[in-house]
């Protein structure tokens, strides 16, 4: 790890100001950034810690929406969102291990947009709104490919607003080593239709599976997606599975996510 300066702002305003400095990098739970720095693959001069800012913390529910402060750790979401949005809480409770869940944050996960992370599936599958210090971004506009998002330089996620669906389920097939999602599928049924978001599988990061959405909007059952396939062309192929295998798992995990949604 290289030397760096650690800034611990007490308010969002201070954080935004600190992020304006050269070489500044937002630090949330650090579950990706810190190991990357330890490997000397990242060398920010200044880390702006967001986890000590009270206004970025917490889970609240109102008017059919659950709003989660960006610096809320996964364990807190798993515990505090359960009553309001059980599908989301269940997903948060499956991320990583207890150490990761007590350090990693929803804002950090969405800002990083790892193609195998769980939260992008929940945000896209729920049609969430990513709230930043400057604007609201619809999930459909936010995710722009592997590790790429709509965030501007210095822009800080402050909260994520989830519309609460009638039913939702998330099932992931774990990569055997990292236990990130080899393929993870989040299914959410709303009054006006079903959304299906797939993580882990695609070279383009999290994506919506339109064909499954259409089928499930007509018949929200595992049988409805039987026989549907996604093309393997854009799927990730690596040590842990071929593109064809991942494409196959998208179908299997979608059916299981529907069953999990109940």
């Amino acid at each position: 790890m290289y030397d760096f300066e650690l800034v611990k702002p007490a308010s969002l305003a201070e954080a935004v100001k600190a992020m304006g400095d050269d070489g500044a990098q937002a630090l949330a739970g650090g579950q990706t950034l810190v190991p990357t720095m330890k490997q000397r693959l990242a060398s920010p001069e200044r880390l702006v810690s967001l986890t000590g800012i009270a206004e970025l913390q917490g889970v609240s529910a109102a008017e059919g929406r659950v709003t989660i402060g960006a610096a809320t750790c996964h364990a807190d979401v798993a515990a505090k969102a359960a009553a309001h949005y059980p599908g989301l809480a269940a997903l948060a409770g499956q991320i990583g291990d207890p150490a990761v869940r007590n350090r990693g944050t929803i804002g950090g996960s969405l800002a990083n947009n790892d193609p195998s992370a769980c939260y992008p599936a929940a945000a896209l599958g729920s049609g969430a709104t990513i709230v930043t210090n400057t604007r609201d971004i619809a999930a459909d506009d936010y995710f722009q490919g592997m590790f790429a998002t709509a965030l501007e330089e210095g822009e800080i996620i402050t909260a994520v607003r989830f519309p609460v669906p009638q039913a939702a389920g998330y099932v992931k097939f774990a990569q055997p080593a990292s236990r990130f999602a080899l393929v993870g599928v989040f299914v959410a049924r709303f009054a006006d239709g079903v959304r299906v978001a797939v993580t882990g599988a695609s070279n383009n990061g999290v994506f919506r599976w339109a064909e499954a959405e259409a089928a499930l909007s007509g018949d929200f059952s595992a049988d409805a997606v039987t026989g549907l396939t996604v093309p393997a062309d854009d799927m990730i192929a690596d040590l842990h599975g071929s593109a064809e295998y991942r494409a196959h798992l998208v179908g299997v995990m979608t059916a299981r996510a529907v069953r999990a949604a109940g």
């Binding site: 097939f173 990292s178 690596d238 599975g241 295998y245 196959h248």
Partner: protein, 790 residues
Amino acid sequence: MPKDGGIGASTKRREDMRFLTGKGRYTDDINIRGQVHAHFLRSDVAHGRINGIDLSAAEAMPGVLRILTAADFAAVGGIPCGWQVTDRHGQVMQEPKHPVLADGKVRHVGDPIAMIIAETYEQARDAAEAVLVDITELTPVLDMKAALAEGAVKVHDDLTSNLCYDWGFVEENKAAVDAAFAKAAHVTTLELVNNRLVANPMEPRVAVGDFESHSDQYTLYTTSQNPHVIRLLMGAFVLGIPEHKLRVVAPDVGGGFGSKIYHYAEEAAVTFAARLVGRPVKWTSSRSEAFISDAHGRDHVTKIELALDDENNFTALRTDTYANMGAYLSTFAPSIPTWLHGTLMAGNYKTPLIYVNVKAVFTNTVPVDAYRGAGRPEATFQLERLVDKAARELGVDPVDLRRQNFITPDMFPYQTPVAVVYDTGNYQATMDKLLEISDHAGFEARRAESATRGKLRGFGIAHYIEACGIAPSNLVGQLGARAGLYESATVRVNATGSISVYTGSHSHGQGHETSFAQVVAEMIGIDANQIDIVHGDTSNTPMGMGTYGSRSLAVGGSAIVKATNKIINKAKKIAAHLLEASEADIELKDGKFAVAGTDKSVDWAGVTLAAYVPHNYPLESLEPGLEETAFYDPSNFTYPSGAYGCEVEVDPDTGKVQVLSFAAADDFGNIVNPMIVEGQVQGGLAQGIGQALLENCAYDGNGQLLSGSFMDYAMPRADDLPMFTVDHSCITPCTHNPLGVKGCGEAGAIGSPPAVVNAVIDALQRAGHAHVTHIDMPVTPARVWAAMNG
């Protein structure tokens, strides 16, 4: 039995208190006043020519004391190999130079190029980034068969090819084996890969070198399984330091699994550098560094064939194996695919004719050497997969085909056609025990229940034999070992009767401190708490060969028995004097020396005190004191064996394999501490299941390690494993060591991989996937799915 447990007691491991409460003294816990830190700049390409190294910027960096490259080691030797194999043509193996730091070429990702010594670790790392290495990348040699093709790029320019040796065993049998195949009623053939593994002990390697100029005394603290071997190899062959001026200490080392047997370049480098910079020099491997610098294990590509007659008797076996040596020859690398592999190809079977061919190949990968089981898992895996495949082809029960061809109890001692002589065993008994403890009779009902949940259940079996208790020195000398393989012990009895036992065996998880004490406690009849086991420091233990090959109790324990017997014999003389009786009439029982047929006795402490306060003592005929040393050199290997059974469920939608149960029925001969034995078996099973289902050390086409961290290298975790059913009640004691023990450290890792894969194949075939006859390890979900849909 002594009240604290002698032989046969499941005494709790005394070492666990320090391990479980954070009090272990690991190698990285050692810090010497004034020490500086070393960092190794390693090659990030698999194969390249070093055109030049510019240190000028790096040397000017803050805190830098010295930067060493190959030129600084010009006057010292290279890293030696401890075994020389002679090939089927009578030629000795090709043995490349192995410089401490890369000299002229880099030969694998991780090959050390420069050693940066600085006041702090971070300063050393910073400076490493300022070292400019001009490398011309060369085509990497990766595929073993391609490496042997005419005109292939060479890993070592000064060798004639990438072939280390072409070993045939037993060469004289080759024609007879081929003839038996020509007239076989059935031939079963299997091509398979034994996957490359990374050992991943809990503590990465550490080396701290120290030098005292006033006495010319070097000390190396290192994560080693055999400090005396390191002293000999590094002292004599690399740095030219006489043994009396070099002390090697291996304290708690956080496990080894074989990877800490070898002498590594970093050990020599820190020891050498300590004198050069006049400060103690410490190096601690990072986990990432361990992946590219610790010796790897396995990595065989094999074609194996079994010939059977029309009554399903095995008539001949033939194998053709390519064994990856990596870029250099690690300490014991040449012996693993040969003498620890070819000699086990008979397995538990009376196959009369066997021919084993092994081509050892240099590639631009990390060196490969022994890893828990070392050659024997490779032999067992191919043989037990092959027998299973033969049974399926012939339509007979895999259990029955094995039973029919087992060596029977009346055939021991049994001379195999591959040189070794099994002393004892009873394979029908271990098979019977396995079928009992695994409830084999209830399998069909369990399979039907799995089917109701849409899961495919399978049962797999494997029977293994291994050669442990390594090894008779005169024999291994003939086979090319450059060391003896005896073990040593000094038993030092203190004046008031407590005992310190100094053993040449090293303990890094095996529980020696507990079980060795039980042996001495049993022999003398005193409480085991009176006895301490001391190991891991060449300054106070007799020359020992260390711990590997399930040898410590069978060889090291036997040395302790010999030394303790010397103690008892002398103590009896002292007791006879004190009791004014004839030595022949003295009996030792429960820590008391008594005159047979009388009530006259003297207790243990009375005798030991007399030995050190010899006021009433036969000084004219007996030296004072009570301390004895013994060396034990075994007359044969030991041959643990066992039957392993695995039940799995395959999820047909994803290909995921879940191990539901695993049963092990082992014959380890006599047992000193059943609880420790069970722990050893459980650990071995976890590693074997890890190899079978999860672990995959894979390189890409450029020689970059794809699984270079735990993000991609899948270690087995608790939830990947079932509860184990372990039994060791089948006992045929070893006939040639005093304890009748065989060794248990590697069995679990040897017998389990074929049982797991056989279970997966069984599940798939029962479900109608008849075309799936083999899946290479690790049997990942993706591979199972591909096989089912292939």
